[in-house]
């Protein structure tokens, strides 16, 4: 492996000063599960690594209605956070699906988005949750919506000597549920063929067919009941991973559903529109036509899962029980 020097600054200012000093020659390292692998694979060759592990305060989860997550929070900590599971469930799904326990113990959410893989597990949940990214350099601090963060495979909006300081998720509407599904060939340690996140806010929490949601009733009869109950979708966000060079919001599909009464036909149309908005490619993990077809299936299923979670936020994803 290439030799490099390794610094462990004790404060944010010290880290950013080192980063400004070494510039292109330096790389920030969080958990290192991407950075060390990229150095071993010779895709990057920094002379200096600047570790963020020694800086206090970067690994905190704060939840009081809104949620703030430090960039050094590990996926394992997210997976175990009851507050996140209850209110921001899609993020729990993503943490749960990522790598192995060994990886989740070390890999951080800041690292996951800064590596900016089109397949990044936390990217689509952060998109549907309306995340703001706080970015800091030695001289300035700015906050941008996560939609503007990803610029291409491995590319972000971060300029030289800038780092992600915090992720902010504003308070969600009442009666909101969210879900993320990772389509993969094996149940652990795989990269997704597709990642789909949906967030839905309903106008009421008394979904009359709540019992049916927990059974194996066909999706059409569940939605038929909802139609009878005149349940309106107040807010919806849909995000797709591995469906374009960057994680993507399916805004046209969202617009079809926002403010409308839920129905089977409408959800079909929304899922089909999301599929058209995607620009998937053929790759070793899956062909474009297959990805497009599966977006149709999974957007609808994640919409259903989100509705289920309005009632039961702690329901986990069982791949075998997704209608």
């Amino acid at each position: 492996m290439k030799k490099f020097d390794y610094f462990k600054p004790k404060t944010l200012e010290e880290a950013l000063a080192l980063f400004a000093k070494y510039g292109e020659k330096a790389k920030l390292i969080a958990g290192g599960t991407d950075v060390i692998v990229m150095i071993k694979q010779k895709t990057i060759s920094p002379d200096v690594l600047i570790s963020l592990q020694g800086i206090p305060g970067l690994n905190e989860i704060k939840c009081n209605g809104s949620l703030t997550i430090g960039p050094m929070v590990t996926h394992r900590a997210i997976e175990k956070s009851e507050a996140i599971r209850k209110h921001f469930s899609a993020l729990t799904d993503a943490a749960d699906f990522l790598g192995s326990i060994q990886i989740r113990n070390v890999a951080t959410i800041g690292g996951n988005i800064c590596t900016a893989a089109p397949s990044a597990d936390t990217a689509t949940p952060l998109l549907v949750l309306g995340t703001q990214v706080r970015i800091k350099s030695l001289k300035e601090e700015r906050t941008i919506p996560i939609e503007e963060f990803f610029k291409g495979p491995g590319k972000t909006v971060l300029k030289a000597s800038e780092m992600v300081k915090e992720l902010l998720i504003p308070k969600l509407l009442p009666n909101t549920g969210s879900a993320y599904y990772k389509l993969q060939r094996r149940l652990a340690l795989d990269l997704p063929i597709l990642g789909v996140s949906v967030l839905i806010s309903l106008d009421k929490n008394k979904v009359a067919c709540s019992d049916m949601l927990c059974t194996a009733s066909p999706i059409s009869s569940i939605l038929h009941k909802m139609e009878e109950d005149q349940i309106v979708c107040k807010e919806v966000r849909i995000a797709l991973g591995v469906a374009a060079p960057t994680p993507l919001r399916a805004v046209k599909a969202e617009a079809l559903l926002r403010g409308k009464k839920l129905s089977d036909e409408l959800l079909e149309e929304v899922a089909a529109t999301a599929s058209k908005e995607a620009q998937p490619r053929d790759s070793i993990r899956g062909e474009a036509w297959y990805r497009r077809d599966m977006i149709k299936v999974l957007v609808k299923r994640m919409a259903m899962k989100s509705i289920e979670r309005v009632i039961q936020p702690e329901e986990t994803i069982f791949p075998e029980r997704l209608w």
Partner: protein, 156 residues
């Protein structure tokens, strides 16, 4: 490159070792400290053969910067036997249930099993299987490993 002094607790004993800053924890354990129980499989954090415990949590030592273990506590497979050299109950169960064939995944597998049981003394089969999802075994088909971990938790 300037060498650094790393001091940490290894299998309950304090150690100090001079290292180059680019080394991984696995390189320090095997090449500097000559503890070759920890194995290198893929070297990319996928197979789990290099699993060790860092402050009680499993990490892949092949992609873990050695510089980050300073003032922390590391447990390797060599640290599981007691003072008289008796095997740990998990190791005994692995032997008894034939959970070992070639043995290359075993040190990592045993440490993942220990992390599962330390956190959850009576795991379900599902919890055991997801707990060892980061440790690949190409010999046993996992059945005997799952049985051994169950037995070590006193459930068989």
């Amino acid at each position: 490159m300037n060498k650094r002094i790393l001091s940490f607790t290894l299998n309950g004993e304090p150690v100090e070792v001079e290292i180059e800053p680019h080394l991984t924890l696995l390189q320090v354990l095997r090449d500097k400290l000559e503890l070759t129980g920890t194995k290198e499989g893929c070297g990319m954090g996928e197979c789990g053969a290099c699993t060790v415990l860092l402050d009680g949590k499993t990490v892949n030592s092949c992609i873990f910067p050695a510089m980050e273990v300073d003032r922390k506590s590391v447990t390797t497979i060599e640290g599981l036997t007691d003072a008289q050299g008796n095997l740990h109950p998990i190791q005994k169960a692995f032997v008894e249930y034939g959970a070992i064939q070639c043995g290359f995944c075993t040190p990592g597998m045993v440490l993942s099993a220990k992390a599962i049981l330390d956190e959850n003394p009576k795991p379900t089969e599902e919890e055991i299987r997801s707990g060892i999802a980061g440790n690949l075994c190409r010999c046993t088909g996992y059945l005997q490993i799952v049985q051994a971990i169950k037995a070590a938790s006193g459930q068989q």
